[in-house]
């Protein structure tokens, strides 16, 4: 049942059955097939093979938390009033009684305190959103570090990236809906970022808020963006993402019997139907448990939004923390000319935010240009076997994480008894220095691991047994690896650095080498040059060592 996909001829061996009626299940299937043509679809996909690895389930976590968000979100829409009309609160939360607030805020309080199950559903919705975004981030990193974004999956990588970005903005608009003091501050922050855009900023802001901030419109507008526009696009992208996963088939790690042309694993039906279906309930149950244990966004203590109020510790949810960090770390520069102000203190972070995300989105295309490799890849890389890519990814994550620290600089300062200014300076310097250090260190670690793999293949595993020979010499016994293990360790492909070729042609005439070509050769050397990967052991080397002439 492992690799083969021979259809099971079920029902063929039932001679005892009467010739009269077929079983009910068969009749239902027949009815449906006659109208929907599901037979061929099911036949093609029921035995679809998926490989087994825990990291391939990260995407499932995202998918399920997305479904949970939709389900709980529907429930919340039944009770939420997306209106900014000011009313006096007379609900069951005492510390806000008699306060003026928007209907949006009051209805969120009602959901939390007066709607049956409302608070739990609200917390499931919010926790699932936090976990959804975190899951997408980790899923993306898994795909990045194993090289799963290579041909033919670049488009699916972009779909996934779009889902991450749209997820961020869906989260942000949802977080803004209750119109509480914290989210209102976040909306104001966003409006500031919009205003910092030269020329178009004020127009976009006026358009989005229907006039001056905050106006009376943004909750209703964010509401339709949050529950209709963005989730609609995301749902479409999720379906496209999954269709492409089916179409491309899943990638797998190298191993004996696994090639670029097959998929080794278990069939969709029954194994993955059961496993994935069960996993959905595990994810739902786990998130519900988290939501039942820990409070999230307790808007009742935050209070209703008023543009003249602000609290310390005003941060966005974690996925916007990178943008928050950029703005907090950036010095408040601005240029004034002809009566206009260019708020560089916000504009530059806004640009870096976009560029920084675009870098990771476009990376697959950059890498395929450097390698010049246009072949399909279905076997995953171990991160150590692509040291430069891995180091680049770690550098990117490092910069991201440092900016997350920057976004929470006040919390870091109070909880580690540091000066907030010192934290900010650490972030400013760390944003540039941290990735460089991370790059160098990661690359050294990868190369070290490659060397260890090479040693393991050539000399076997260190058994820890020391043997004393009759003449007094001590030797350590190495256990040779199994054939399978050796195959797995040497299955990866090693590129040769791209050459520019001779700079003069056969007639001695100088050939013109274009700039991009030179750059490509240089980058290619940085990726695959002598110092940047450890040559994997060859069969000859192995034979020479194991023939007894070599010594350990």
């Amino acid at each position: 049942m492992s690799t083969t996909t021979t259809p099971n001829p079920s029902g063929a061996d039932a001679p005892g059955r009467s010739r009269g009626k077929a079983p009910a299940g068969e009749r239902v299937a027949d009815w449906a097939d006659g109208r929907l043509g599901i037979y061929s679809l099911a036949k093609a996909n029921m035995r679809k093979i998926f490989p087994d690895h825990w990291s391939f389930m990260l995407g499932e976590i995202c998918l399920y938390s997305f479904l949970i968000i939709i389900l709980t979100g529907v429930y919340l829409t039944l009770f939420f009033h997306p209106s900014m009309n000011e009313i006096e609160y007379h609900g069951s939360y005492v510390p806000l009684q008699g306060q003026l607030m928007s209907e949006a805020f009051a209805s969120t309080l009602d959901i939390s305190f007066d709607v049956r199950g409302g608070l739990l559903i609200r917390q499931i919705h919010h926790w699932a959103a936090v976990i959804f975004l975190a899951g997408m981030f980790v899923h993306m990193m898994r795909v990045f570090f194993t090289g799963a974004f290579r041909k033919p999956r670049e488009v699916n990588w972009l779909f996934g990236f779009l889902l991450l970005v749209l997820g961020m903005f869906t989260g942000f608009t949802g977080y803004s809906l209750p119109d509480d003091l914290l989210s209102g501050t976040g909306v104001r922050f966003t409006q500031g970022a919009i205003l910092s855009m030269p020329i178009v900023g004020t127009y976009i802001s006026m358009f989005l808020f229907g006039g001056e901030f905050p106006g009376g419109d943004f909750v209703a507008r964010f509401y339709s963006i949050h529950i209709l526009l963005l989730p609609g696009i995301m749902l479409g992208l999720v379906v496209a993402h999954l269709i492409l996963v089916f179409y491309h088939k899943h990638t797998q790690f190298a191993g004996p019997g696994k090639t670029n042309n097959n998929v080794v694993g278990m069939p969709l039906l029954p194994v993955y139907m059961a496993k994935a279906g069960g996993f959905f309930f595990l994810v739902f149950g786990f998130i519900t448990m988290i939501a039942a244990i820990a409070s999230i966004n307790p808007i009742w203590v935050l209070g209703p939004y008023r543009p003249d109020l602000v609290s310390t510790g005003a941060q966005p949810d974690w996925y916007m923390g990178f943008a928050e960090g950029l703005v907090r770390a950036m010095p408040g520069w601005e240029i004034n000319f002809w009566g206009h102000t260019l708020a560089l203190g916000v504009l530059i972070p806004l640009v870096i935010f976009g560029v920084f995300l675009a870098i990771i989105a476009l990376y697959p295309f950059v890498e395929s240009w450097i390698t010049g490799d246009k072949r399909e890849h279905h076997i995953l890389d171990r991160p150590r076997n692509a040291p430069t890519r891995t180091a680049f990814g770690v550098a990117w994550v490092t910069a991201y994480m440092i900016m997350l620290i920057g976004g929470g600089n006040d919390i870091v300062a109070t909880h580690f008894h540091l000066s907030i200014n010192a934290v900010t300076w650490f972030v400013r310097i760390g944003f540039f220095v941290g990735p460089v250090i991370a790059f160098i260190v990661t690359k050294r670690i990868c190369l070290g691991l490659q060397r260890r793999d090479r040693d393991k293949v050539l000399h076997g595993r260190e058994s820890g047994i020391i043997k004393r020979l009759p003449h007094g010499e001590f030797v350590e016994v190495h256990e040779p690896l199994s054939q399978e293990a050796m195959y797995t360790l040497t299955a990866h492909e090693q590129y040769k650095p791209a050459e520019i070729g001779p700079t003069v042609d056969e007639n001695g005439v100088e050939r013109k080498v274009k700039g991009p070509q030179k750059l490509r050769a240089k980058l290619s050397k940085a990726y695959y040059g002598e110092e940047n990967q450890i040559p994997k052991p060859t069969a000859e080397e192995y034979k020479e060592i194991t023939s007894g002439h070599g010594h350990h």
Binding site: M1, F113, V138, I293, P298, G303, G313, Q315
Partner: protein, 269 residues
């Protein structure tokens, strides 16, 4: 008068005049000088000031100067009032352990009687806010909702929505207000300790202060409820994000590893 006139050239006349003048000056002084000086020696207040002065000389004079005039290490205490002493010493902030961006609270080593003596002495240096009475700061039957709004308007900028504390520049900070004695909250508003601005009764009335104390008592004390479950420090999205990553996603990955490890057995054929 003849006698007197006849003796005005007497060698001792000047001495007599001098004595008379001295007696008159002395008499006038006793008549017009502040009366309490003479009576003070016997009242409890002056005893407290005397005791306070001794405690002050040991615990405070190093930085604030022997007469409370202040030095380069500590500000003058003239006019800070008894409320400031009661707050600073009562919460253990003073005497300070070491100079720094801000003096943190620590275990208080003075008895309330000693603090009162110190307060009496410092209050004698110049008029300032007095220690509030229980009726002034008792939060019973104050308006919690009003207090919440006042808190968000005046306090949350530094102390966070529910008074969990927050960072100020260069290592200074607004401390957490969790379970702080209402008296100290009242005193802090009254005199504005360290980096905090003061909110005298002209800015926040006595009732306003009570409302704020009542709000804090409701949302940030040991018996405050957190309807949503664990509060996660009440710090907002930073701690929520951390919790979501570590326990939320971390737990789900652990579940994924568990599911992936339980795979269907391949049929041996």
């Amino acid at each position: 008068m003849k006698k007197l006139s006849a003796r005005r050239r007497h060698p001792l006349a000047a001495v007599v005049v001098l004595l008379l003048a001295l007696a008159a000056t002395g008499g006038l002084y006793t008549a017009f000088a502040p009366a309490d000086k003479a009576q003070a020696d016997t009242t409890a207040q002056s005893l407290a000031i005397d005791e306070g002065k001794k405690l002050y000389a040991v615990g405070c004079s190093t930085c604030h100067g022997t007469g409370g005039q202040g030095t380069s290490d500590g500000p003058s205490l003239a006019g800070v009032g008894a409320a400031a002493v009661d707050f600073q010493v009562g919460t253990g902030r003073m005497p300070a352990q070491q100079p720094g961006a801000q003096v943190p609270d620590k275990k208080n080593i003075y008895s309330q009687a000693e603090i009162d003596q110190l307060a009496a002495f410092v209050a004698s240096l110049g008029a300032g806010p007095a220690v509030p009475t229980k009726e002034q700061y008792d939060p019973a039957d104050a308006d919690i909702a009003e207090g919440g709004e006042l808190f968000r308007t005046n306090c949350a900028q530094c102390h966070n929505f529910t008074g969990k504390g927050g960072a100020l520049t260069r290592g200074k900070y607004a401390p957490s207000l969790e379970d702080v004695d209402p008296k100290y909250i009242y005193e802090a508003m009254l005199h504005g300790p360290q980096n905090m601005p003061s909110f005298p009764d002209t800015t926040l009335t006595e009732k306003n202060k009570k409302d704020i104390i009542a709000y804090l008592d409701e949302v940030n004390s040991d018996d405050s409820e957190s309807p949503g479950g664990l509060e996660l420090g009440g710090l907002g999205p930073v701690s929520e994000g951390l919790f979501g990553w570590i326990f939320g996603l971390g737990g789900l990955i652990a579940v994924a590893v568990w599911v992936a490890a339980r795979t269907a057995k391949a049929k041996k054929s």
